[in-house]
Symmetry: C2
Subunit: 152 residues, 2 copies
Amino acid sequence: MILIIHTIFVWMRKGIIYGLALAALFFVLRWIEYKFVIREFSREFYIGLIAVIFVVVGVWAGRKLTTTKRIVKETAPLFVVNQENLSRLEISKRELEVLDLMAQGLSNQQIADRLALSLNTVKTHTSNLFIRLDVKRRTQAIQKGKDLKLIP
Amino acid sequence: MILIIHTIFVWMRKGIIYGLALAALFFVLRWIEYKFVIREFSREFYIGLIAVIFVVVGVWAGRKLTTTKRIVKETAPLFVVNQENLSRLEISKRELEVLDLMAQGLSNQQIADRLALSLNTVKTHTSNLFIRLDVKRRTQAIQKGKDLKLIP
DNA sequence: TTTTCGCTCACCCGAAAGGATGAATCGATG
DNA sequence: CATCGATTCATCCTTTCGGGTGAGCGAAAA
């Protein structure tokens, strides 16, 4: 909700900025008109000048819009677990935790310490994980876990 | 070299297309001018119309340019080995090969078969790798290898 | 309430991985 | 030529992993 309000606010601010820029440009055009151009150059040149200026403005505005979009995309490569794969393979929360720590390069003993479990329990979880992921080694499990978007 | 020529060609084609588009727009403007507008509406309205049209053109052109760039980036996430890290850590070609296969989830025996080596040789390479990467387990080596852009 | 399921832990055994050390070969480099 | 580094292979030993099995416990579902 807050995000939506913020987005609207940003867009309003954008609109105001672009509106001010356009207004400023119109004043500049009026100034050019009365100072130099209109009587000395041809109408086509004047139109062309306006066209070029506004093409530039358009490109600038377009770039602003698209680049801000891209920044949003790039600063939010947030990982979300693929719940479909998770439930399809019947992987429990605990098993996923173990898989995550496994992928961080921890040994079973270290995982046991981290999760306050016994080594045997961790081994049970890993064994079940290997069965569910249909792999034989932890390195394969890590690979497959990443492929299936179960871990970042 | 071929890539450069191709790029230049693409840009030339872009230029021609945009040029044609602009020319077409000028003709449209002339047509509007002689058919309807110039005598009936004010000069400001006419200028505004041109401005709006060319802003749209600019946005369109800008989007075209930036989006094609983005497509190029997205369709070419080609992996290149970070040679600095490679030489800094004194990792040899053979060791890198072993690391790569290791990251694919292969066992030492499978790596030995794949590279036509003995198991002992592979174990030597892995041991040296762990020393150079300053890790204790193959899972950590894989992690660090990816962080250092040694493997994809 | 009984069953089911996830989580926990244990024991055993074999396979794989890791650590340490020594050594032979071969190409490049001084 | 002699030396150095990369590569290859070996042996011995310890630790970690992986597979199989059994079992207790607690919460949720039937």
